[in-house]
């Protein structure tokens, strides 16, 4: 579209982010940095058992402890209906949500909240926790997804009825989904090569460095204010309102700066507890999770167990794929089985695809979204088996991907036909990239893999207020995790025709801006960006009207160019252009304040595709893997602020490398998490990684005035398979389970040696 050819003054430039100075000086207020006078402190008592009936809870001793102001248990929360509501990420079941924030009949995982205390100090609150006595009846537990699906497995929810399938008796399967395109039976008949494999991935935590934190203050008139680190202040409001039976109008949620989320802060844990404690205590209550609590009770994303079957002609045309993807959901239904299935082979034009998925409950914390939820898991299987297919066929793995690449007009296995997409471009660039032909040394290998994510739009509101001095304030409603304020300000500056540093973007609380869906699904720069662009256009329309009044001409006769109102043609009249500042100064007498506004449910998110190249070196004696070089190529639509787009790509790739190599939950025989800290939950450190070369391909999304596609999700999809494929290339050993940590890889290498010796 025409926007591609426009020369932009601000869009596409690398400006300093509006919140930058506060963040490099320590001024920025994150979740735990906020305090109120008279504030008291809340702590949570958590179950030490993976699965136990809560027979009774005696809080009397804790309540009697001097300094304790309030104690709550599940009895303080009203029961919720067991129905699915569209209220946040996926469908929300409030009956489950109230049980997740505070265990009711049973504790369902190690770390499950069973009571909370607010007291004058953290120390008193912790002492009070020790005085609460809980009578548990410990039940057998189940941690692994395959185990949970077996007959005779401990059942988490006796009453749970799976959707999408029929079973006799209780089950841990919450949901079964299927997607079918074409006829795989026929597809496999056409195949000359068929491969079938199983893969497994570990549950991994989002690993944001900032623990969950909240301050809640409920006044005597029932008006509540909540300050918290969240990806969606409006979702916090909705969830707290529903769980505590309060009207939304009585809750004002102000998002703090947020120290990472990646999907993990799209749900509530502490917010309803702090609000209820504050209501009971009559004082503001602050709650901060410890790192241990973050690991035991929040996040993660699902672990998965998969089987894949792929068929192809000798020429490399993939004729059919079948897959079964079983995802663990944690203690309550909600694993991203649907998206996992839909994304599995989305980068490819395959006529016959059948994928099914299971959402399975186990005794772990309930999963939350994590970057492209579901897709990295299914892609690990799909991109690994495609690599095996390439090897079997003797075709270069990128060549094979290109041969089967989805293009505009390809029908995806999950239904829709793709519009303008840039997958093939990412493969082309990868093939030509000097990384792909660079020489490799001994014990070194190279792997490639691709990935897909839908991206989303959603409800978005924005206001652009023109200030009296010709500057502007942009108010939006999405917490800024990775630089979105900069992108929004760049687009507003472009539309208004004023300098970037004259535009101040701020994030409104729930009472100061219209509803916004949460920051997630890579929607903010796209969807909220669109609302900001429309709000700026609304302001420009008003500015043109003011100029028309001054000139006594029809508003249609005025156009906006480079920050000035101008006559559309000489027929309108010969007027000196009026600058935004001039019109702003005259606003009081031309009709009052100039406030642009837009609110809409944004549709038309452009899907994102990526192809990654990874080089590794394997120490054959210890199983240690070094990432030597990494290149991530991605269709970004258009990069509004290229630095932060690169940052999303680099960060997502790094998280994927962690998922590939070392991140895992380690449970002991009692079902207790054995590694609830950054010491043994091993996210990549600076010395683990090379520079990550982010290559941005720009195939604009024609549903956005600047061509924006979401960029934050897809970079985490390819890395696990890219690393596994590189390890295979280096050693000849195929790792089919994550993480590929040194002990696991050495065991596999030794196994291969034994096998080779026997042959």
């Amino acid at each position: 579209m025409s926007s591609d050819n426009r020369k932009y003054k601000w869009v596409g430039t690398r400006q300093i982010r509006p919140d930058g100075h506060d963040k490099v000086t320590g001024r920025a207020k994150f979740g735990s940095d906020f305090s109120l006078s008279g504030m008291i402190h809340g702590r949570v008592l958590r179950s030490p058992h993976a699965h136990a009936i809560i027979k009774s809870i005696d809080t009397s001793k804790a309540e009697a402890l001097p300094g304790v102001k309030a104690v709550i248990t599940s009895k303080d929360f009203q029961e919720q209906p067991a129905e699915l509501k569209a209220a946040g990420e996926g469908m929300i079941n409030y009956r489950d949500m109230t049980r997740n924030v505070m265990a009711r009949e049973k504790a369902l995982y190690d770390g499950h909240a069973v009571a909370a205390v607010a007291a004058s100090t953290v120390e008193v609150a912790e002492a009070a926790l020790e005085l609460i006595s809980v009578d548990y009846e410990v039940l057998p537990h189940v941690i692994d997804v395959d185990e949970a699906m077996k007959e005779g497995a401990p059942i988490l929810h006796e009453e749970m009825v799976p959707s999408g399938m029929e079973v006799n008796g209780p089950t841990n399967i919450a949901k079964f989904v299927e997607f079918n395109l074409g006829d795989t039976k026929k597809g496999f008949e056409e195949a000359e090569v068929v491969i079938e494999r199983s893969y497994k991935t570990e549950a991994v935590h989002q690993g944001y460095i900032e623990p969950h934190a909240v301050v809640a203050s409920v006044a005597e008139d029932g008006q509540a204010q909540i300050w918290c680190c969240t990806q969606g202040q409006f979702q916090v409001r909705a969830f707290v309102a529903q769980l505590l039976g309060m009207p939304a109008s009585s809750i004002r949620v102000t998002p703090s700066e947020i120290g990472g989320g990646f999907g993990g802060k799209t749900v509530v844990y502490l917010e309803p507890l702090a609000t209820l404690l504050s209501k009971k205590a009559g004082k503001p209550v602050k709650m901060i999770m410890t790192r241990e609590e973050v690991f035991r009770a929040s996040g993660p994303t699902s672990g998965g167990s998969m089987t894949y079957k792929i068929g192809a002609t000798k020429a490399g045309k993939i004729t059919a794929v079948e897959a079964t993807i079983k995802l663990l959901a944690g203690a309550f239904a909600g694993a991203p089985a649907g998206p996992a299935c839909m994304c599995a082979v989305a980068p490819y034009d395959i006529k016959n695809v059948y994928v099914n998925g299971y959402d399975v409950v186990v005794n772990r914390p309930k999963v939350a979204a994590y970057r492209a939820p579901g897709a990295p898991i299914s892609a690990f299987g799909a991109e690994s088996i495609i690599d095996e297919l390439a090897k079997e066929l003797g075709i270069d793995p990128l060549e094979l991907r290109k041969l089967n690449a989805a293009k505009k007009g390809t029908q995806a296995a999950y239904g829709p036909t793709f519009r303008e997409i840039g997958y093939e471009e990412t493969v082309d660039i990868a093939m030509k990239h000097d990384h792909y032909s660079a020489p490799l040394g001994p014990n070194q290998g190279r792997g490639v893999a691709s990935g897909f994510w839908f991206n989303i739009g959603g409800e978005s509101s924005a206001t652009v207020n023109i200030n009296e001095d010709g500057t502007a304030v942009v108010i939006s409603g999405n917490p800024d995790i990775g630089g979105s304020r900069a992108s929004l300000a760049l687009m507003a500056a472009e539309e208004l025709g004023i300098d970037y540093d004259k535009v101040r973007p701020i994030i409104g609380d729930t009472a100061s801006i219209g509803y916004n869906f949460l920051t997630g699904g890579s929607r903010v720069t796209f969807a909220t960006g669109l609302a900001v662009v429309e709000a700026a256009k609304d302001a420009v329309r008003q500015l043109c009207e003011r100029a028309a009044k001054i000139w006594e001409v029809d508003a249609e006769g005025v156009i906006w160019e480079n920050g000035h109102a101008k006559p559309a043609s000489t027929n309108v009249g010969d007027f000196e252009p009026l600058s935004l500042a001039n019109l702003a100064a005259q606003a009081p007498k031309t009709g009052g304040p100039i406030c642009g506004h837009n609110a809409q449910n944004v549709q038309g998110a452009g899907p994102g595709f990526a192809t990654h190249i990874c080089d590794v070196e394997v120490d054959p004696e210890t199983g240690s893997v070094s990432i030597l070089r990494y290149t991530a190529i991605q269709d970004v639509g258009r990069a509004i602020h290229p630095s932060y787009v690169e940052g999303q790509i680099q960060g997502g790739a790094a998280q994927g490398i962690g998922w590939a190599l070392n991140e895992e939950y380690i449970y002991n025989s009692k079902g207790q998490l054995d590694n609830p800290g950054f010491l043994d939950y091993r996210i990549p450190v600076a010395s683990d990684l090379p520079m990550i070369d982010a290559v941005m391909v720009e195939v604009p999304n024609d549903r956005h005035p600047y061509g924006v596609r979401g960029v934050g999700e897809v970079p985490i999809v390819p890395p696990m398979a890219a690393v596994a494929n590189a390890i295979e290339n280096a050693t000849g050993v195929r790792m089919s389970a994550l993480p590929m940590s040194p002990p696991r890889l050495l065991a596999a290498l030794d196994q291969a040696d034994i096998k080779e010796a026997a042959e």
Partner: protein
């Protein structure tokens, strides 16, 4: 006639296995109403927000008011979130 494609999960649950059909409607409201008449429950499943609608490749998370073209292709898919 708008062409409707259904995934296996949906066709098994609501249409007795019919996964592709055509329907004469000019917007999503009409589509939802007619689907509910034809396959009870499917329309309301869309209307309560559990399903997104893809109209000619564009995914609408909460479709209702959108117009449809005579040659539009519709698919339903689980609602997408993200991290």
């Amino acid at each position: 006639m708008v062409r409707v494609l259904l995934t296996d999960s949906i066709s098994k649950s609501y249409t007795g296995g019919v996964s592709e059909f055509e329907i004469f409607v000019s917007n999503v409201r009409q589509l939802i109403r007619q689907l509910d008449e034809k396959y009870p429950g499917l329309g309301s499943e869309i209307n309560n927000g559990a399903l997104s609608i893809s109209i000619d490749g564009d995914i609408y998370q909460d479709a209702f008011i959108e117009d449809l073209q005579p040659d539009s292709e519709i698919t339903f898919l689980p609602k997408i979130g993200g991290g």
